[in-house]
Symmetry: C2
Subunit: 184 residues, 2 copies
């Protein structure tokens, strides 16, 4: 069972997303067609590190129809408008999101994949609940779209922990999020 | 004398900038204070690869007071409002910018450093006059500021040519710009 690297008792919330060099996670109309397949990238290995997928409503609605995208993972959708019963195979969390994530991180299990989008990332950053940011930078300038982190947001210093370049030109960067107080 | 890598007869225009992970080259008020010093980075070696610095008026006005920032380089400021005589140590180019850069790339010399900002980058991209994008990604989320490439812009596929991580957590990515027609 995967566990958090620094503190074995805490599951990490990890924002793992494909991102253009100019900082977009989707095109202006939510397009994903610019994300080039990378045969070297071991998606299964990544996928196995998580047991929970956490996402905003818009991301959920954009990806829910992709075959097998959720696999056997527990899916949590942050939404104040989506009804829990529709559908019943995901957990919808509204007002109590912060406490739900705090509890989730303390409970046993693997890491939690923050699947997107940028607005949920910004909210979780503000609550101090994001452990890592792991953009897979696709070699393209999109020129517009849905941002990795919508402005305005606070400044968050990061620590580069790992990086790996792939033959397609994709480069995965792994950062730990430092609290603003940790900044020099 | 440094010369272009692929075509020895052509000087390259290279967009070398410090950039936050969320895609900003300066803070909301033009701040540079988030750019952490990187002792390992050989600035002199980089600087020696260029004989010309090309920048927009706002970048020029932001950096002109930094001691020695222009060294012995030829400085070209793209501006329709700045007067050539004020000051006289830089070349101001207005309406004729595209032809000036075309001519400059054909003339003998070292590479041309596109010093910023994002608006000039977007214009030169649209003219097909940018050879490389070389962001030095600083480990921080700025949450807002002056973008690497202001939206809306066209899509430009890139080729990752090199990357190097530094001990501060900065990682320099070097991409060649492919024309949209080169995209698969």
């Amino acid at each position: 069972m995967a566990s958090a690297k620094r503190s074995p008792a805490t599951r990490r919330v990890r924002y793992q997303v494909a991102c253009s060099l100019d900082g977009y996670i989707a095109g202006p109309s939510g397009e994903f067609d610019w994300i080039i397949p990378e045969p070297e990238f071991n998606f299964d290995e990544l996928y196995a590190q998580f047991d929970t997928l956490l996402m905003g409503r818009k991301t959920y609605e954009a990806v829910r129809s992709m075959p097998g995208v959720f696999g056997d993972k527990h899916v949590i959708v942050a939404s104040r408008t989506l009804r829990q019963t529709d559908p019943s195979d995901v957990e919808v969390v509204g007002e109590d999101l912060e406490q739900r994530i705090v509890d989730l991180k303390k409970s046993p299990g693997s890491d939690i994949w923050l699947f997107g989008g940028g607005e949920l990332f910004a909210q979780l950053l503000a609550w101090g609940l994001v452990d890592t940011v792991e953009p897979a930078i696709v070699p393209i300038l999109l020129g517009g779209g849905l941002p990795l982190l919508p402005a305005p947001a606070a400044q968050y210093p990061l620590t580069l922990e790992r990086h790996r370049a792939y033959s397609s030109g994709m480069i995965v960067l792994e950062y730990a999020v430092r609290s603003p107080a940790e900044a020099e």
